[in-house]
Amino acid sequence: MNDQVERTLYMDHAATTFMKPEVVAAMAPYLSEHFGNPSSLYRYSGESRSGVETARGQVATAVGANREEIFFTSGGTEADNWAIKGVAFANRERGNHIVTSAIEHHAVLHTCEWLEKQGFSVTYLPVDEFGRVDPVAVEAAITDETILVSVMTANNEIGTVQPVAEIGRAAHDHGVLFHTDAVQAIGAMPIDVDAMNIDLLSLSGHKFYGPKGTGALYIRQGTRVETLIHGGGQEHRRRAGTENVPGIVGLGRAIELATADIEGHNRRIAAMRDRLIRGILGSIPDCRLNGHPTERLPNNANFSFRYVEGESILLLLDGRGICASTGSACSSGSSEPSHVLLATGLSHEEAHGSLRLTLGDANTEDDVDYVLEVLPEVIGRLRRISPLTPARTRMPEAE
């Protein structure tokens, strides 16, 4: 096997995306001539102010909200923290119980765990083998003390799309607020906060070809949310700090582009994903697809390969120029593999042997061919080293 890097093939778009040229172009003036502070009174700052407000409108349009309901943050993590802590502390006299799921992003899970130390109680709902949360279980978990349900729109690791509208309805039927972390979903599926019964929604710019360090929280009008970042009067006095004007402008342009033609975009990406899935399942024995067979993000393919470990897979792929991701503990330095994969019922060995490939706008059918050529070699090679590999699966060395 040739270890020379022949090309760089990026298939880790759930981790982050490149910035589109249109986004960079939209930001450029705000990195140079339009440097004014949006809070200043002189006319010179007017450009900065209107840049921020245009972006607010673009975000609002993308999720079916009013512009007054959009608040810019430093990213998805801050939006999740603000939504959950903000609702918890503002509604404390109404109750102290939160319902969430076992497969949330750590920005949600660790926030909930911290709230438990502050006297709140949290229910972490299990998921089925495909990673789906059951809306009936959500309803059953709600008590008189429940103030918030937080379930992600789509999972970042296995791509499973949740029945968000049903979960939101279950919450609303009991007068409970509903937050969803839509960080992976923006641009991948249509979002309408009214139709989907969403009260708070987190999003992050760099997941849809916008800049890093940008995000937003949608807060439905009239929702009681405590402020997290105190200071100046920015963002209607609800989120202090001088605005990241170039970042916000880039986020606005990026979300506009990402939501312009979701269906057409998905058709192309999902076709590549399906070919990738069919090709890998067909050519590599003792391998499974993680996540839901149909209710999944159009760009997500996640596999477990028996008898091998994920970090080793990543490094051999990296040697061939392919950028991917794994849920193995060994890639993060922690002792536990992905909480998401374990929650779907995978064994530790299967979770350690996981590989996530997430497609993006720059990927081509050629890229899919290249992965389909390289991956069986990589897995075969590691399986020849592994003591767990049964003889029937031990593929002979390729000529």
Binding site: S312, H352, I385, P387
Partner: protein, 147 residues
Amino acid sequence: MYTEKVIEEFTNPKNVGELADADAVGEAGNPTCGDIMKIYLKVESDRIVDARFQTFGCAAAIASSSMATRMILGMTIAEAWNLSNADVVDALGGLPEPKVHCSLLARDAIRAAIDDFRTRGGLEPLERGSDCCCSGEGGCDSCPGND
């Protein structure tokens, strides 16, 4: 995050495989921890004359396995027993801090093989210490008292 030496040793590991006529076989780690190493030794007049390994694990585990089997070739049983994971890490030009424990896998497998060799020769096994992937910090299933 890895040194070039680690990547080279991981990408082109030496001494991979089994020895059908091994005088000793040792195994360490478990799939829960995410790494398992199996080592096969051929011993002649107290010296290791051949060593092969099979490893399920991360790059650090595979590179350490390969390096350790190369290092013990020609060693006496006593010398091989005393090979520390620090020796293996040094030979690899260092490992990132969270990965140092992965090199314990090789030491533990070698010691397990030597105990197998002793047992086959009618001797008592030696005290090996902890066999777990997190060096006994209580972080894994095979930690003492953590079953």
